[in-house]
Every structure is written in C-alpha cells, then in structure tokens.
C-alpha cells in the first residue's frame, strides 16, 4: 500500500483496482498506521483508481469507524466521475467529504 503520514493525517494512495482481493491489505496496513501514528484524518487518494466495487466501500466505512470516535474525518481526493458515482450510490458520502480542486 502506498501511503504518506503527516502528523495525524494519513493519505492512502489507492491502487488501480480496489476490490476484495487488495482491500484486505489496505485494511490491515491502514489499521496498523492508524493505531501507531495516532491518525485522526484519512485521505483516500483516487488518482490511480479506475475500478472499485463494494469492497472499497467497506474499506472506507471501516476506517471511518476507527477515527470518528476521536473526532476524526475521512476525505476523498482526485475522484473520477465513475468513482463519484460509486461513492454516491453507496451512501458513503454521508460520512466522507470529497475535496474538489479548482480547475
């Protein structure tokens, strides 16, 4: 898993495909970092991601549950139209904000 930690913020650079197969590794790695680095904010970076199924939604919801007790937040960046469709349909936008860059 590609990631970056800046103080209490973890950025996860999601792979090209986010499915059940690689969701497992992302969950494991992310949870280890959240505990060790006292992470409160998680940014999911979708720049490389072209495919995501409901396993990816599970990853986001699970990480949200881990940080929201401490007043944390989850964000999404670099989302394509397809990713925004998946995120909207799943209802995960209720707990996650999408950061839109100025064009």
């Amino acid at each position: 898993m590609k990631y970056q930690v800046q103080e209490n913020c973890l950025t996860i650079f999601l792979p090209e495909d986010v499915d059940h197969h690689n969701a497992e590794e992302i969950k494991r790695e992310a949870d280890r970092l959240i505990d060790r680095e006292h992470i409160r904010y998680i940014i999911f970076d979708f720049a490389d991601t072209g495919f995501m199924d409901s396993s990816g939604i599970g990853v986001i919801m699970g990480r949200y549950k881990k940080v929201y007790m401490m007043g944390g937040e989850v964000w999404a960046v670099h989302t394509s139209e397809r990713m925004r469709k998946i995120l909207t349909m799943s209802g995960v936008m209720k707990i996650m904000q999408i950061y839109e860059e100025d064009k």
Partner: protein
C-alpha cells in the same frame, strides 16, 4: 415477454476461488462484451457487477475455501446475459440477503452493498440459492440503449 433474438455467442469460465481471480473474471467478461460495442460506462457497470457476484461466491459461498466458480455469459440481441454460480453453502434467505446494508460478515467489514450494486448496474437480477447446494446469480444488461440514434449515421 419481449423477443430478444437468438443467442449469437456464448462463453463459459471455470476458475479457482482465489481472490486474485476476481480481477481475471471481470476483465474476461469485459473482453467478451466488447463485440456489443459498449460504452466505457457500460463496461464499468458490468465489471462491477461481475466483481460483486464473484466476491460473494468466494467469501460467502465457499467461505474462503478452495473450489470452482463458474461463469456463463452469452449474447442475445443487444443483451449481455451473465450467470455466476458456486456450489457453496447457499443463502438461507435470499430476500434478506438482497436488502441494502445487510451482511452476514460485519466482522470482515463487508459493506452489504453487493446485491445493491448488481441491481443498480445491471437491468435485471435474479438469485437462486439452496442451502448446502450453492447459489446462482443471473443478470442481464442491454448494451447500447439509445445510442443507435447517433452512431449508425455513416459519413
């Protein structure tokens, strides 16, 4: 029932229930459907639905034990038909399983959105299951709906 034409092409796929084969399955079905001249959006829709059905077979049907997952795909008129089957544990209550957010594996952080995604991205979804015998998910999607208006005009 509306007549949808004869079957013009068909394929079958048997593969081991390794999670790495989820990508193999959806890419193979995506390649098979290219003959219908789908949009990028339609290909993504089908890939998502295949991924959901195959993931269900692997983690729920076979509970991560090694068996075979079966996919049958065929083309009939402008329709892509898909059947994803396993010979796993089966679903005791299909109606309940299809409710959004329902999951039997919350500890695995399954979102409970699998069937909702299949329903949303395909035109038709039917689930047959028998406890102890396995599950078959049948799906249909019409490809290229409303596109002939602006693609059939030759220059």
């Amino acid at each position: 029932m509306e007549r949808i034409g004869d079957v013009t092409n068909e394929m079958e796929l048997y593969f081991d229930s390794h999670s790495s084969n989820e990508a193999f399955a959806r890419v193979t079905v995506a390649a098979f459907m290219t003959q219908l001249n789908p949009t990028v959006e339609e290909v993504s829709d089908v890939k998502t639905a295949v991924s959901e059905a195959v993931t269900n077979a692997i983690i729920h049907g076979y509970e991560n034990t090694l068996h075979k997952v079966h996919i049958r795909a065929w083309i009939q008129g402008k329709n892509l038909f898909l059947e994803v089957s396993d010979k796993g544990v089966g679903i005791p209550d299909v109606k309940k399983a299809m409710e959004p957010l329902f999951t039997t594996k919350p500890e695995m952080e399954r979102s409970g959105m699998g069937f909702s995604f299949m329903e949303a991205f395909m035109d038709e979804l039917e689930v047959e299951s028998e406890p102890g015998r396995g599950t078959r998910v049948k799906m249909r999607k019409e490809i290229g709906r409303g596109r002939e208006l602006w693609t059939t005009q030759s220059l």
